[in-house]
């Protein structure tokens, strides 16, 4: 089976780097971006199965990015990453088109299973 193609978007570069490397070690085709604009560019340039998106970023906020991404790639699954997945965040996120919400810090196995679920595997 083709490897999962995942884009990780978070303004914390260290975090993105570590996650990309760990997912890589587990056979995921992972890439990283550090802001919404870059993420949008990358999504346009190549195909991804799932995007892991930090909700609170400077500049373009997470919810806006969802909308923009879905304009270009409607079937793209987006998972929100945030410090607190409460009712408000989850509901708003899903209404904007997100698949689900994940709490930081993430457990790598939880992350992996949710990525697979989002990709329909």
């Amino acid at each position: 089976m083709r490897s999962l193609r995942v884009l990780i978007v978070d303004d914390e570069q260290e975090l993105v780097g570590a996650l990309v490397e760990r997912l890589d070690m587990r056979g995921v085709d992972a890439h990283g971006a550090h802001d919404g604009a870059t993420a949008l560019e990358m999504v346009e340039q190549r195909d991804f199965d799932v995007v892991l998106l930090d909700l609170k970023m400077p500049g373009m906020g997470g919810l806006e990015v969802i909308g923009r991404m879905h304009e270009r790639r409607p079937e793209l699954q987006i998972i929100l990453l945030t410090g607190h997945c409460d009712a408000e965040n989850t509901v708003k996120g899903k209404a904007a088109g997100a698949f689900d919400c994940l709490v930081k810090p993430v457990d790598i196995d939880t992350l992996l299973s949710m990525l697979n679920k989002a990709a329909g595997r």
């Binding site: 975090l15 760990r22 070690m25 410090g83 607190h84 009712a87 930081k104 810090p105 993430v106 790598i108």
Partner: protein, 580 residues
């Protein structure tokens, strides 16, 4: 152990927001003094004018009635005095007529005198002349007509003879005369052609008494004549027949008619008197006060009764109204103070919450980085084919880093949860089911530590409308605390019962170490903890906040060494549920 008040409330409840005893502006002393001031000033303002008005009325009425009483006495006395004077003057005129006409002279005869007497008796209808006598200037009786035998009598040495010689007219005091009825003597001196002589007459007072004096007298009145020494000159229905002593002192001589107040053995009376000029008589007219003042006395009694009842009623009303008003004020002040404290507390809570949320968010990111980097380290060791020196130890170290990260993240998540507004989703909940569910989470620990849990559910406990998830959090927190406070083989008692004001109470009583008095006030404060290093100190403040948001109340009572009781009171929320 706890002791419940008979009416169901807890003694020494501790609310973080109720600070009744400590707040000086709510001291009972202040309200007592307020009550006193209000009551006294209101009473003063209402009663003083009432007293003044009543006093003025009383005074005016009494003056008016006194005047109304005196006036008729005065006029009656005056009329009677005039009548008596006239009577005397009439007799005197008649006698003068007789002598000036020449029918009576010094050379008189008894039979002629008798004729005069008869004609006098005929012409004057009342106060008959009993006898007539002519006395010469030496005091010798020359002629006499009448029932006595006074011919030849000498009056030379008698006072009356001197008096009439000097003054020309004389009226004597009353004496018992013919047929032992009261008479008096009237004498006039006449200068005739043959010399001066005195015409002396004895006059019967019977008809004077009966007609002039007593005419038109009311039963409570009396009119009579006395001499200056107080001897009755006419009969008095009060004091006896003529010549008895009148117990009333004769007032000093005064011109005209006067009315004074006197007392005799029968009581208070008004005395109208008048000195009859040219006679030894004083007219005394008495009227009993009770009859005259009867209406005044009853009116006065009514006024005083009215005043008394009014004052009592006013005082009663003022007392109760002031007391209630001051009580309402105090309650309002207390409620306001409570609201302020609550606001203050909520504000504090909110700012702490915001602070905490900010900190938590800030920390979360580096925490996530540590997590991933440590995870990466672990991955490098476990997922690669190489062997690492001291691989086991390295992995152990990395695991403990990861564990600490987990602990931190629990804290930050709790902080963030505390700070956020959580939406309340209402549903109908049976509290006993919910509590059993919560306890099931702690089943393992309970059985492991042999902690006994007992349930007492009042049969008429209604279901309530509330948020299931948040209630679970509340009870989980409280039960967790209870477990933490208890030793092994401790007992947890849970009681669920309805109240009489559309709420349900859940009592969670443990037999653990208890909470000391000085901490009880503070246990709901954020970050307050007696176990440094364990937990965040947020649990109970979060719990308190949730219960408040659900319109309930959370109270605690505790005794060191005996145990702790938490009472969660929640509104039923839906009146329909009360009947089910």
């Amino acid at each position: 152990m706890t002791t419940d008040h008979p009416n169901g409330s807890l003694e020494h409840e501790h609310h973080p927001t109720a600070r009744r005893p400590a707040d000086p502006s709510l001291a009972p002393r202040r309200y007592r003094s307020l009550f006193r001031r209000v009551a006294l000033s209101t009473a003063g303002v209402t009663i003083t004018p009432l007293l003044i008005m009543t006093g003025i009325n009383y005074y005016q009425y009494s003056r008016a009635i006194e005047a109304r009483t005196r006036q008729p006495i005065e006029s009656q006395t005056s009329n009677t005095a005039h009548a008596v004077s006239f009577f005397l003057k009439e007799r005197e005129s008649a006698m003068r007529f007789v002598v000036t006409q020449g029918t009576v002279t010094l050379d008189c005869t008894n039979s002629q005198l008798q004729k005069n007497l008869t004609s006098l008796r005929r012409s004057l209808s009342i106060g008959s002349f009993v006898d007539l006598g002519v006395i010469d200037s030496d005091g010798r009786q020359r002629c006499y007509a009448g029932p006595h035998k006074l011919q030849g009598r000498s009056y030379k040495d008698q006072d009356w003879f001197h008096a009439v010689t000097l003054k020309g007219v004389y009226i004597s005091e009353v004496f018992l005369g013919f047929r032992r009825s009261p008479h008096f003597v009237m004498a006039i001196r006449h200068q005739g052609p043959g010399g001066s002589f005195i015409l002396r007459a004895t006059i019967d007072t019977k008809e004077l008494s009966e007609q002039i004096l007593t005419i038109g007298l009311r039963p409570s009145s009396d009119a009579f004549l006395v001499n200056r020494k107080g001897v009755l000159q006419s009969s008095s229905r009060t004091y006896g027949p003529a010549l008895s002593r009148c117990p009333l002192a004769v007032p000093h001589r005064a011109e005209g008619v006067h009315v004074v107040e006197r007392r005799d053995e029968k009581g208070h009376l008004f005395l109208g008197f008048s000195y009859i000029d040219g006679s030894p008589f004083v007219l005394m007219h008495i009227k009993r006060a009770e009859e005259a003042m009867g209406s005044w006395i009853s009116l006065r009694g009514e006024m005083l009764t009215f005043l008394g009842i009014s004052v009592i009623l006013i005082l009663l009303v003022i007392y109760f109204v002031s007391r209630n008003m001051v009580r309402r004020i105090r309650e309002a002040d207390e409620a306001r103070a409570q609201v302020f404290h609550k606001m203050e507390y909520n504000n504090k809570l909110a700012s702490v919450g915001r602070l905490a949320a900010g900190v938590a968010h800030e920390i979360n990111n580096p925490l996530a980085i540590i997590n991933e980097k440590a995870g990466l380290l672990k991955d490098r060791i476990t997922l690669s084919d190489d062997d690492f020196p001291q691989e086991k130890k390295l992995l152990a170290n990395i695991d403990s880093i990861l564990k600490s990260v987990k602990r931190c993240s629990t804290i930050t998540h709790r902080l963030l949860g505390f700070a956020k507004h959580m939406d309340i989703k209402f549903e109908t909940i049976a509290l006993d089911d919910l509590l059993r569910e919560v306890l099931s989470f702690l089943d393992k620990e309970a059985s492991f530590r042999s902690i006994g849990v007992s349930f007492h559910v009042h049969p008429e406990t209604p279901r309530i409308r509330s948020d299931r998830g948040q209630l679970q959090q509340v009870f989980l927190n409280i039960v967790n605390n209870a477990f933490a406070a208890m030793d092994d083989r401790g007992r947890l008692e849970i009681t669920i019962q309805p109240t009489d004001h559309q709420t349900v109470e859940v009592h969670i009583q443990d037999d653990g170490v208890g909470i000391p008095e000085e901490n009880l006030q503070r246990i709901f404060e954020p970050f307050f903890t007696t176990k440094p290093g364990i937990g965040t100190g947020l649990g109970l403040s979060v719990t308190y906040g949730i219960v408040e948001k659900l319109n309930g109340s959370l109270r605690v009572k505790s005794e060191v060494g005996k145990g702790t009781l938490f009472v969660v009171e929640l509104p039923v929320g839906d009146p329909d549920l009360l009947d089910t």
